[in-house]
């Protein structure tokens, strides 16, 4: 359920509902607040005006009657004339009766609207004090409290003095039925009430007739939270009041609120349906896509989804279909690639292992397992030797900057044969597990090395073959001298033995013979040394010495071709680490190539530079021979590639040189310009024992 609530469908529906309802609610709330205040003020003002208007109407009415009575009362001469009374009765409908009273309250004249004009009827005033008060205080008029006639109709007595001496008084019986009725039945909204209080705080008119004639002790209010407005009716010492409960006052607002609320509800209903429709309209394609994605996630490829719309969703569906198709294709390709890779990895002769940062083995291929067994728990540096307690010297995992490593190491197999392995470590950028850092590639290069040795030897034998005649000449010359001196010595021994001994020529002959024999020995020793088949033997050696030995080997050849050799040696050449014999082989090959290149040169010149560089020593062999065609240069170090005439070269020389230099972690470069000459530059690293 919680997940459902988080779904986009519910969010869209919720959003729709909120957007349908909140603006309406906020607007309604705002108008309610504003309208409440305004309506309250308006209602209060309206109520005040209403009460004052009604009170004023009553006051005017009573005041007018008093005025009329005073006018009549002041016309003493006409009091005997009943026409005056009838006239007053005609003009004032609320007067029921008019009487002329003497100072004791006896009725002198009576004109009644309902009853017979009987002056002898019961006393008109039931309270003589009213008359006494009028006379005693000599006031303009006086009125009684509210009384009731035999029909229950309320009335009051009004009295005015007839003459200045207050001898008589004119009285009227003013019925209050119409006044009370008008006040009580005044149409008011809701629970609002208007009521009239007499001078004794008695309710003499009220909307609610059940409250009539009760004393207003403040308990009669229907709602104390409302507004109570009063207006005095001074002529009778009455007070008109109107109470309007707050609920009534705000009833227009409540009505508006109720209606507004219902309209808002209807609008929300309408808006909600639209929102639901819109939500479903928008969410449906998303859900379809989501369903499709779930299928994809579970590994099932859904059919192509129908594109039903022309909008962005249609575009999205189309894109999904295309993506789906593309992913399927890529997955198939990936499967194929994986299969191929698996075949390659499992069938390749190299051993592969993925190594973690802590040198533990995360994975290895069957080849490596075949070499080391199921020893995946050992650190990588113990894969080939249990005696290694620490990572390899140049292991990149130990370094801050991770660069690939390429070294060789040896391992004695179960047959006691020493095997050579190329040990390379490549950093991994994208790994399956956390902490996987590097790929270790172990290649059994024992056979390769052997082959390489054979090639080197072959190349060496080739060089020896080519140098054989030179060697013969080189050896032949001292041997010829030895023969001449030996024959001459023999002759002189036979002719004059004593003189030969005494003159010291004997010593001279023997010295020359020994010198030439030594020369021969030296030549043959060099030759033997060069031709010796040896495995790699790393020692520290002087490059200058090796070059001199190489030059000596090639001396005859150089002389034979009339090549002028210039050797320039820089100062403080550092010793190098490596195999001096192999290095000599490189130099011999380079010298031989230079000799071959200058075979047609009239003034062949060879320059040899040895200088100190940052890495170690740079040895350049420069000739002014025919140069190398540009198209040959990329293939120059390929095995068996040669541009020499058949019989002159095996095509192994430069290839072997390249292999030897590379094995010594050096570089071999060529710079040639056809017709002008070629320079081979070998840079060999200095010995690790040398500190910069």
């Amino acid at each position: 359920m919680k997940q459902k609530l988080h779904s986009i469908r519910y969010k869209v529906l919720l959003f729709g509902l909120i957007m349908s309802s909140i603006p309406l609610v906020l607007i309604s709330g705002y108008y309610l607040l504003v309208m409440s205040s305004q309506v309250e003020d308006t209602a209060a003002q309206s109520q005040k005006l209403r009460v004052e208007s009604v009170a004023s109407s009553i006051s005017d009415h009573v005041n007018h009657i008093f005025e009329r009575m005073e006018i009549v009362g002041n016309s003493v001469a006409t009091l005997e004339d009943t026409g005056v009374y009838y006239d007053l009765l005609n003009q004032q409908e609320s007067i029921d009766e008019i009487v002329l009273l003497n100072d004791t309250g006896d009725v002198l004249r009576r004109v009644s609207r309902f009853n017979l004009n009987d002056t002898n009827a019961e006393p008109w005033l039931d309270d003589q004090s009213l008359l006494n008060e009028l006379k005693g205080d000599q006031i303009d008029h006086i009125f009684s409290g509210v009384k009731f006639n035999e029909y229950g109709q309320p009335y009051v007595h009004l009295l005015v003095p007839v003459s200045e001496d207050f001898a008589n008084a004119l009285g009227v019986k003013l019925h209050l039925q119409k006044l009370i009725g008008d006040v009580s039945s005044h149409y008011l909204d809701g629970d609002s009430v208007m009521y009239l209080r007499d001078q004794d705080e008695r309710i003499i008119a009220h909307q609610d007739y059940s409250k009539l004639w009760q004393i207003d002790d403040g308990q009669l209010s229907s709602d104390n939270t409302g507004i109570i407005t009063t207006a005095p009716i001074e002529e009778l010492n009455w007070e008109l009041a109107m109470e309007q409960p707050r609920s009534d006052m705000l009833s227009p607002v409540y009505g508006m609120l109720t209606r507004g609320g219902l309209v808002a509800a209807a609008m929300i209903l309408f808006g909600s349906v639209i929102s639901i429709y819109a939500g479903l309209y928008f969410v449906k394609p998303i859900e379809k896509l989501q369903s499709g994605m779930r299928y994809v996630k579970t590994g099932y490829w859904p059919d192509e989804m129908p594109v039903e719309r022309r909008d962005e969703f249609g575009e999205l569906t189309r894109a999904f279909n295309e993506m789906n198709k593309e992913i399927q294709q890529k997955e198939r390709s990936l499967e194929q690639e994986k299969e191929r890779l698996s075949i390659v990895v499992n069938s390749m002769e190299a051993g592969l292992a993925v190594i973690r940062k802590d040198y533990s083995i995360a994975w290895m291929n069957p080849t490596l397992k075949g070499w080391i067994g199921e020893r995946s728990e050992v650190p990588c540096f113990q894969m080939f030797s249990d005696h290694n307690d620490s990572p390899c010297y140049s292991c990149p995992l130990s370094e801050t900057t991770f660069e690939k490593m390429d070294e060789t190491l040896t391992k004695t197999d179960e047959n006691g044969e020493q095997r050579i392995y190329r040990h390379r470590v490549f950093p991994l950028q994208h790994t399956l597990e956390e902490g996987e850092e590097a790929l270790v590639v172990m290649e059994d290069i024992t056979e390769e090395k052997r082959l390489e040795e054979k090639l080197i030897q072959t190349d060496k034998l080739s060089a020896l073959g080519r140098m054989a005649s030179s060697f013969a000449h080189e050896v032949n010359n001292p041997l010829a001298s030895v023969q001449v001196y030996a024959e001459d010595l023999t002759d002189r021994l036979e002719e004059d033995r004593e003189e030969l001994l005494d003159s010291g020529d004997m010593d001279h002959y023997l010295h020359v013979i020994r010198k030439n024999i030594h020369r021969c020995k030296e030549i043959t020793a060099n030759l033997l040394n060069f031709s010796r088949q040896s495995s790699w033997k790393i020692t520290t050696f002087s490059v200058e010495d090796v070059m001199n030995e190489s030059l000596m080997l090639m001396e005859h050849n150089l002389k034979k071709h009339g090549i002028k050799v210039t050797v320039k040696v820089g100062d403080h050449l550092p010793p190098l680490d490596g195999d001096p014999l192999k290095t000599s082989q490189v130099f011999v090959n380079l010298l031989q190539n230079a000799i071959d290149a200058m075979s047609d040169q009239a003034d062949p010149q060879m320059m040899i530079f040895m200088e100190k560089v940052t890495e170690g020593v740079a040895i350049s062999v420069k000739d002014n021979g025919s140069g190398i065609p540009e198209e040959y240069i990329p293939k120059l170090f390929d095995p068996f590639f040669t541009s020499k005439p058949t019989g002159q070269g095996t095509g192994l020389g430069l290839s072997v040189c390249y292999g030897i230099v590379e094995q010594m972690n050096g570089t071999l470069e060529v710079d040639s310009e056809q017709g002008k000459g070629t320079t081979f530059k070998v840079v060999l690293p200095k010995s690790r024992s040398i500190n910069d």
């Binding site: 009838y86 008008d182 209903l269």
Partner: protein
């Protein structure tokens, strides 16, 4: 999907429209039932409507259901039943006979609806109410006071026309109020020192008998009776033909040819009764609303009849008079 969506939107729109229509529909109007027995009393309905408007009512918010009957008790009762069955909020009955029939019908049906009688001569004496101030029951209203006014009318008549020596009092023996009014008039005549001669009016007035009864110096005064009211025009014609002054109660009687009339007009009664109808509509109980007497009692005189009869009139009394003209509404 699209069709369902459009269908839902249309349904929602129609529902919203319906709700809004219902919301803004006016509340049901309050219904006032009207029962009257002759068309001359329709002035009361006009007065009632005017009175309600004066009190602040909007007539559109009120619904009047009126039933007019022939002056037969059977027709009146039938209409009273229909009115009671109509479930109105308030009933107004436009006279004593209507009120009496209505009370009977409501009693029979045991269905009490607040009722305002408009212009009943003696509601207490008839038994419709128990007391003017506290009527009890479901009736309140306006008493036209005609029974008690019979005395005053007699006094006003002889004061206005001093030459009258004897009064013939037209009454209906079979009508309670008429009979009571006769008694009041007789007592007044004794106080005033004038002789009176009662004359019974049945289904129709026997003018020959009345003519036989008539003497010089006689005046005629009608007493409350719907039978007599129904023969107003004939009485007026008789008055003019015989040259005898007639004292009635209503303005329309004077307009018909009666010389004098003293009472409350139907229209004014209607205006006044609007107050009580209003009080009932506002939720008061009828028993709490006192029965009222007329706010306005007018003394009508037909100028035309006066001239035709050529009678002397007291000038002081003329101050009270509201002159009317024959068949022409109120005069100036």
């Amino acid at each position: 999907m699209k069709k369902i969506g459009l269908f839902l939107i249309v349904v929602a729109f129609l529902l919203s429209l319906y709700f809004i229509t219902v919301i803004f529909e006016d509340d049901d109007p309050m219904t006032i039932g009207v029962l009257y027995s002759s068309d001359n009393r329709v002035d009361k309905l006009d007065g009632l409507k005017t009175g309600l408007v004066d009190l602040g009512y909007d007539l559109d918010s009120l619904k009047f259901t009126a039933f007019e009957s022939e002056e037969t008790p059977e027709g009146l009762e039938e209409n009273a039943k229909r009115l009671v069955e109509n479930e109105v909020d308030v009933i107004t009955s436009f006279g004593g006979i209507e009120t009496q029939v209505l009370a009977k019908v409501m009693e029979e049906k045991n269905q009490m609806i607040p009722t305002v009688f408009i212009g009943m001569a003696a509601p207490k004496e008839i038994g419709i109410i128990s007391d003017f101030r506290h009527p009890e029951g479901v009736f309140t209203g306006l008493s036209n006071h005609h029974m008690h006014l019979s005395a005053k009318r007699l006094e006003l008549f002889i004061d206005m026309v001093p030459d009258v020596e004897r009064m013939i009092l037209l009454y209906s023996e079979d009508i309670d109020i008429s009979r009571h009014s006769l008694q009041v008039a007789k007592e007044a005549a004794q106080f005033l020192g004038i002789s009176v001669q009662p004359f019974h009016v049945g289904e129709s007035l026997d003018f020959n008998a009345l003519e036989d009864e008539l003497k010089p110096g006689d005046g005629i005064m009608t007493l409350p009776s719907f039978r007599i009211e129904g023969q107003t025009d004939q009485i007026a014609d008789f008055s003019l033909y015989q040259g005898v002054p007639v004292m009635g109660m209503y303005d329309y009687e004077v307009e018909s040819g009666f010389l004098l009339g003293y009472g409350s007009s139907f229209y004014e009664q209607g205006v006044q009764a609007a107050r009580q109808v209003s009080l009932l509509l506002q939720g008061n109980e009828p028993s709490d609303i006192p029965v009222e007497l007329p706010d306005q009692i007018s003394f009508y005189m037909n100028e035309t009849t006066k001239k035709k009869l050529d009678v002397d009139m007291d000038k002081n009394m003329l101050k009270l008079v509201e002159p009317l003209h024959m068949n022409g509404g109120q005069g100036g």
